[in-house]
């Protein structure tokens, strides 16, 4: 008789094909176990027992914020990408047009106020009561009335 084959390490006992089967089996068993535990757990009941307000009261926000490195967070923000995604032109145009419209309204209203001031004084000098700007022209008035 020849010499019997010597026994080496565990890896020698199972070939790669068998090892793969074992890993798959272990994964299936683990998933099934987790599934059983989760299905047996009543999450709503657990949540009912948790006093969220009490938990929040115990959180020290100042301490939490103190531990956060805001500078580092800000540095991580990709400002260039943010700017690229923002339509700055539209924002600037909207604010500019709004400001221009405001300015135009103010200029016009001021000149109308000055018109009224002058007309009122002219009315006093002529001893005629001023009742507002005259007009509109007859034809416009007739069209508005019809």
């Amino acid at each position: 008789m020849g010499p019997s084959p010597s026994l080496g390490s565990d890896s020698d006992l199972v070939n790669p094909f068998q090892r793969q089967h074992v890993e798959v089996l272990a994964q299936v068993v683990t998933e099934r176990a987790v599934e059983l535990v989760v299905s047996a757990l009543d999450v709503n009941a657990v949540l009912d027992q948790v006093d969220i307000n009490r938990v929040l009261d115990q959180i020290d926000l100042d301490r939490l914020l103190g531990r956060m490195d805001l500078d580092e967070m800000v540095q991580r923000i990709d400002v260039d990408a943010l700017v690229e995604q923002t339509d700055l032109g539209a924002v600037i145009a909207a604010s500019s047009s709004g400001a221009a419209s405001d300015l135009l309204d103010v200029v016009r209203s001021q000149t109308v106020g000055l018109d009224e001031f002058i007309a009122r004084w002219i009315g006093r000098l002529r001893r005629r009561p001023y009742t507002g700007p005259p007009g509109p022209p007859n034809r416009v008035r007739a069209e508005a009335a019809s």
Binding site: S95, G98, A99, S101, D102, L104, D105, V106, V107, R108, S109, T111, V112, G113, L114, D115, E116, F117, I118, A119, R120, I122, R126, Y130, T131, G132, P133, P134, G135, P136, P137, N138, R139, V140, R141, E143
Partner: protein, 203 residues
């Protein structure tokens, strides 16, 4: 009338409160402001054109061209340019740049759009109103229809063309207070807006 939140009596509204200004005859201040803006715009464009001509001449011929205010050709060129500026503006849209800024426009004396012929006549008659210490402009202050001499000659009038009510609504909606609070439930702010709007935009 909106009640004041601070309990004080509101000041009397202007005589034109509650009325629309659009279509009514424009007053002296509006017309003078529009004219002043037009003078600045037309002079600015004219001087830019002179500078451009000087630059082009220097580049092409290597010679400098100097312009003098008293030069008769400069005066004639400006007169021609001013005629084109005013006549074209009034014929095309009834208003110049200054009139558009102030919110007034030239119309026929019955309120309809002025024709090209009226625009040209009005432009030619315009200098006449400045003769005799501006006597031709007295009609804007004293006349019932606020017409100057050149308006009478051309058969035109100048009316307000902007909607004061729309401006007031813009202001009340929040667009007019760029830096102010915008919370719709803030009654103090709303009342203040209403008061300010009544003061600023009477129409």
């Amino acid at each position: 009338m909106t009640a004041r939140v601070d309990g004080t009596t509101p000041s009397a509204p202007p005589a034109v409160a509650g009325e629309r200004l659009r279509g009514k005859y424009a007053g002296f201040a509006s017309r003078f402001t529009a004219f002043a803006v037009d003078v600045v715009v037309s002079l600015g464009v004219f001087m830019l054109a002179l500078a451009a001509i000087s630059f082009a001449a220097r580049v092409l011929t290597g010679k400098d061209i100097s312009w003098h205010n008293g030069d008769i050709w400069v005066v004639i060129a400006y007169a021609v340019w001013a005629f084109i500026y005013f006549a074209y503006s009034w014929a095309a849209d009834g208003r110049t740049a200054g009139m558009a800024l102030v919110g007034v426009r030239v119309v026929r004396d019955d309120g309809t759009d002025a024709s090209a012929r009226q625009a040209i006549v009005r432009t030619l008659a315009f200098p006449l109103s400045f003769l005799f210490l501006g006597l031709g402009l007295a009609g804007i202050l004293l006349g019932d229809r606020r017409r100057a001499l050149h308006d009478v000659i051309a058969g035109t009038a100048v009316v307000y063309s902007w909607d004061t009510r729309a401006a007031r609504l813009r202001f009340l909606s929040g667009d007019g207070l760029s830096s102010g609070p915008r919370h719709p439930g803030d009654t103090t702010v709303c009342a203040a807006r209403t008061r300010a709007a009544r003061t600023v935009w009477p129409g």
